[in-house]
């Protein structure tokens, strides 16, 4: 089964779309099969243990204590700074 990436932002619409698209393109070019799920920050708890890595576009949220899914800061998707490293890190969790 393909690994899954959860991308969260405030509305599940704008900033997460940017990250989703970039992740999809990057993984496709690297031949890594994955499923990208887009959601609102409030839905974190309901998805947390069903995905393999979480990309957070909004700062300050906390994972429920019982979950140990890796959490990645998504700011580089918006600023462009450190984007390559972030994508590589995500790829690591999906392989």
């Amino acid at each position: 089964m393909a690994k899954r990436v959860l991308v969260l932002c405030g509305n599940g619409v704008a900033t997460s779309t940017v990250a989703c698209k970039k992740i999809q393109d990057y993984m496709q070019n690297a031949n890594v099969r994955c499923e990208v799920i887009q959601a609102k920050i409030g839905e974190l708890a309901s998805y947390a243990d069903k995905v393999d890595v979480i990309v957070l576009m909004a700062m300050g949220a906390t994972l429920p204590a019982t979950v140990n899914t890796p959490l990645i800061k998504g700011l580089p998707f918006l600023t462009g700074i450190g984007l390559k490293e972030t994508l590589e890190e995500i790829k690591k969790y999906l392989q």
Partner: protein
């Protein structure tokens, strides 16, 4: 003047679903985007505009009759439909002024940055729509194209300068160095929040309340789940409108569908804009090297803080009750209920996470949003109809929590239309804001630094005990 007016008329007649994509295509090419990417972007934008129209029409078909029944069968006169910020943005972009808004604002930002009037480099092309909306609303309110453009520039100017002012404490609170958040929908609240916060600082007793809201999530958690929330609202409206059980349930389900599907369609619009965002961002950053710059990003990155989410959970049922009892309000909140976190995200930073103050200020902000939304609805409705939107029976107008409901936009619209009440209110609020701005900024940072000191001291004490 004649040629500009006729330009708008000709462009208008082609049809908004073609005009905006065409402009986006040209603009993308001008910025150096590959033709294939530019075409795809343009088509996606057209698709998104059409999709949003479909969903909003469906919403109107369901909510419209319900609103009519509601006014007939209860004392509530809530006949202005909240279609959501996405629908408003789509409608604005479908106007000729909207289509050229992005290039105009980019140039304006570039000029202001070049002359060091602002430090904010607004690469968040997506949120230009709030600024363009202020312009289009002003244009339709005054029937004067020039005033419209002035309104748009004024909104941009105020947004960027306020973003510069808020940057220090936002950066610190959210741990985001080098960034500002020039998102008008989150910045407008600060203009109101700062004076209120100053007032709260001076009331003995009240100024020390922080409040403990840990059990909130347990009791109000389901208000954070949009689909469930929509079903509840639908059922309540159905019951109050004296619908049969069958009709109430169907209304509830249809509204839940709108609540979940609408954001997804708006996301298509975002995807269409992405190449523009990337190309504009590269262009701006390349030509402005050497200046101290704040990267202007979407306020969406600040939504995750627990205080923001907690306060939003409490304010959600509050805004529904408020809508029913607030005199002067006709807006029925629906699609934009989920943006409450955005309206308070910056307030939370100003008060260093104090949920009590966030709630008090948030309540005032929501009153303002409902009233300004109602007052500016006629103009917004004119625009909505002009771009081909359908007015559902039972509704007298459309609104959202953005657009004219944002205080800055309301202020600009009313002032440039020379509406006396608007001018006075704007002058008073902005006056108060400017009075307290410097001190509030300093205090916000001070609050955080004090907390850091205390935490550090506590750790030190604990370690010496070992």
């Amino acid at each position: 003047m004649e040629t500009i007016a006729s330009y708008f008329k000709i462009v208008f007649d082609i049809g908004p679903n073609v005009v905006l994509p065409f402009f986006i295509f040209l603009f993308a090419l001008a910025l150096g985007t590959k033709a294939s990417k530019a075409i795809r972007a343009a088509i996606f934008i057209a698709i998104a505009l059409i999709g949003i129209k479909m969903v909003v029409a469906f919403m109107g078909d369901n909510l419209g009759p319900a609103m009519k029944a509601l006014s007939k069968n209860s004392a509530l006169k809530l006949d202005v439909m909240d279609v959501g910020w996405g629908a408003v943005a789509a409608a604005i972009w479908a106007t000729p002024m909207g289509a050229i808004g992005i290039p105009v604002l980019l140039i304006f930002n570039f000029i202001l940055l070049y002359f060091r009037v602002t430090k904010t480099l607004m690469v968040d092309i997506w949120n230009y729509h709030h600024l363009i909306t202020a312009g289009v609303l002003t244009y339709y309110a005054t029937d004067n194209v020039y005033l419209g453009f002035i309104g748009m520039m004024l909104a941009a100017f105020i947004t960027w300068l306020t973003a510069d002012w808020a940057a220090p404490f936002l950066q610190k609170f959210y741990g985001l160095p080098g960034i500002s958040m020039p998102t008008l929908s989150s910045i407008s609240e600060l203009v109101i929040a700062a004076p209120i916060n100053e007032l709260l600082d001076r009331i003995p007793g009240v100024k020390d309340i922080r409040g403990n809201f840990d059990s909130v999530r347990k009791y109000l958690g389901l208000f954070g789940e949009p689909a469930v929330l929509a079903v509840i609202i639908g059922l309540v409206i159905g019951i109050m409108a004296k619908y049969s059980l069958k009709d109430s349930l169907n209304l509830a389900m249809n509204l839940a569908a709108v609540m979940i599907i609408l954001p997804k369609v708006v996301a298509i619009l975002m995807e269409g804009l992405m190449p523009i965002q990337e190309a504009s961002s590269e262009f701006l950053q390349k030509h402005l090297g050497g200046r101290e710059i704040f990267l202007g990003l979407d306020s969406a990155i600040s939504i995750g803080h627990p205080s923001v989410l907690t306060a939003a959970l409490i304010l959600t049922p509050f805004v529904l009750v408020l809508a029913a009892i607030l005199p002067g309000n006709q807006m029925l909140p629906f699609a934009d209920i989920t943006v409450i976190p955005f309206r308070i995200a910056f307030v939370v930073a100003l008060v260093n996470g104090n949920v009590f103050r966030t709630l008090v200020i948030g309540a005032v902000v929501l009153v303002q949003v409902l009233l300004c939304g109602t007052v500016t609805s006629p103009v917004l409705t004119k625009i909505f109809l002009a771009v081909g939107g359908k007015m559902p029976e039972g509704a007298v107008g459309v609104a959202s929590f953005s657009g004219g409901s944002l205080f800055v936009t309301y202020a600009i619209m009313q002032t440039l239309s020379f509406i006396l009440s608007g001018v006075i209110i704007s002058a008073v609020v902005f006056g108060l804001f400017l009075l307290v701005a410097k001190s509030q900024q300093r205090k916000a940072i001070q609050l955080m630094e004090d907390e850091e000191e205390n935490t550090y001291a506590a750790i030190q004490n604990n370690s010496t005990q070992i």
